[in-house]
Symmetry: C2
Subunit: 356 residues, 2 copies
């Protein structure tokens, strides 16, 4: 039976990427060597790294004033690296609290300077994106989490802000067109639309480098990785290789405009069914619904395990909501086909016929 | 033509590990899902993580007082995490300088307290392991680099030290039996004898946790990863998976005692040829020679490029010395067969016949 992987991350990647990656593990482009055993200083890997960087630049239409880095440690490491590298006391950094990941970023930033949380949607279990606030002109940056995997919300319009935007885009980068101009720094763990777990993309505008006076360990300083082209130490070779394969696939599929259209269509299939079906209730406000993670609950929560069983019987995996809030979550990243989303919508229809 | 990969790291792994890893990329144990797309919270990955941990424990015969962590960021991140987590001002940490990697560890430690470099082999281009020094009883720890990939030296006896040993074992962990008792903390980037690039093993003794008063970002605190079993955030799933496959292979080959014997034999083949052959000169003192990285030069350096060509023609890849010192370096990690080492020794013999 075909499996439909609705996991929130690590998550589905295109079948052809798995096939190419497996081939590279056995023999990288006819070299007689595995991608897992080549030196990171080899020409073969330098070409992979350069290609991956160029794909990021081309897909996001980055100007020369932005640097593209492949680090490790996940977005969780960026939670502290951002303020460590950008925030000079007594400056203030502003944060918007749109969920658990925002809160973690806020917590880590507190070690490095004054943090002002301008708005939060905690009052309604993060079911919406906060919108009513004013960003002080003097703030060093405004930090947002562009997509919230747990509650299923997403920014569909960037905040008005004179200070530069810093965004955790772990769960929606490369899922729609992006105008880079308001952003000074974007970071993203790879394991949703970018690649497998194990590398973290950081895009940083040149003027934000070297702006603090504190001592920073070499590995935690963005300048180190800019000056060494992400090769200060051995980078995560295989996760970068698979990222390249995946971004090549994305490029061939028409880039971010086409991806954005496909993701809109897929989200419509699932949200239309949530709204139509008498058994389910969407969790996020309609205008802030995520195109990546559709969250909903059964009106009768006693039926949840039956629904999860029905999903499983149809090959739909990973639809259980995040352990902190429960319910149902269907993550429908770039690589998920419309037909898989329709399978889940059909399960919901059949569930209504049986239990409604 | 068969390739013999003498690369210093990332480096050779067993062929069957590549085959199993490629199979897992296509379909993990018949699950219908790729290892690259499964959730790190899935049972499948929890089993992989637990197995990998158990293999580390069993191969190294670790008692319950040691924790086993799989982090990311390479040994380069441990250079600062070690003193950040262990060194409480005004305490002193002692370091032995046996090469470039030691120096990097010393440099990063300087951010966090008083560092005393007890001995260095810089006076003779790091061609030996420093031995004449006394470790002050009051030091918090003594840091060593157990194997030095650039100069080709290795500790064959641990220093006498009342303070606990901390070791960077990136390039020789799992290559020989280890008595864990003198060690408080061991760290190792995976990309030599452990697995592919992308994860870092940290073994830490329980009593060294939580010993400093400074504020530590959550991701940089060993306690975080101990309490969350290396799952505070998404771990590098695939590098850990391949580490498991590789350690399973090592276990089946007879564990560390057998690996140590094989590595002795392989090193003897190459060093015997270096010493016998009139064209070459070993770089490291005989008693400190590394069993992992054999370094030597051509007595007539003008012939170096001819020798590199001869190696290449025989399928021997990655034998060029580290860019900082040049010469020849043959890295002969666990997965390299005796027959590959013999191929290189034969190239050296033939080179002598042709150019000697």
């Amino acid at each position: 039976m075909k499996k439909h992987n609705f996991s929130a991350g690590p998550s589905i990647l295109p079948r052809q990427v798995f096939e190419q990656a497996a081939a590279g593990v056995l023999d990288l482009s006819g070299s007689g060597l595995s991608i897992l055993e080549i030196s990171h200083r080899s020409n073969a890997f330098e070409e992979i790294l350069d290609s991956t960087k160029q794909l990021v630049r081309s897909l996001l239409k980055l100007s020369d004033s932005y640097h593209v880095l492949f680090l490790s440690g996940g977005a969780s490491s960026q939670f502290f690296m951002v303020p460590m590298n950008l925030l000079n006391p007594p400056e203030t950094a502003c944060y918007i609290d749109s969920g658990a990941w925002s809160l973690k970023a806020i917590k880590e930033a507190g070690h490095f300077g004054k943090i002002s949380v301008l708005a939060s949607s905690k009052d309604r279990q993060y079911a919406y994106i906060p919108k009513k606030y004013t960003v002080p002109d003097m703030a060093t940056y405004l930090h947002i989490t562009s997509n919230n995997t747990i509650s299923g919300t997403q920014y569909h319009q960037w905040p008005e802000s004179k200070p530069v935007l810093v965004a955790d885009m772990s769960s929606d980068i490369f899922s729609r067109p992006l105008d880079i101009k308001p952003f000074g720094l974007i970071y993203a763990g790879a394991q949703k639309n970018m690649g497998p777990a194990g590398t973290t993309l950081v895009i940083i505008r040149d003027d934000l480098l070297g702006r603090v006076s504190r001592e920073i360990p070499t590995m935690l300083n963005y300048q180190t990785h800019v000056s060494k082209n992400s090769m200060f130490n051995t980078p995560p070779v295989f996760p970068i290789y698979v990222t390249m394969l995946n971004l090549q696939w994305l490029h061939k599929q028409g880039g971010l405009e086409a991806a954005g259209r496909r993701n809109q269509e897929k989200a419509r299939i699932i949200y239309d069914e949530v709204d139509r079906n008498s058994m389910f209730l969407g969790l996020a406000d309609a205008e802030d619904r995520s195109l990546m993670n559709a969250t909903f609950v059964l009106k009768d929560s006693a039926l949840e395990s039956d629904f999860l069983e029905a999903c499983s019987a149809a090959g739909c995996e990973g639809v259980k909501g995040h352990r902190s809030i429960g319910g149902i979550r269907a993550s429908i990243y770039n690589a998920m086909g419309k037909e898989s989303v329709s399978v889940l919508a059909d399960v919901m229809k059949e569930f209504e016929q049986k239990f409604g």
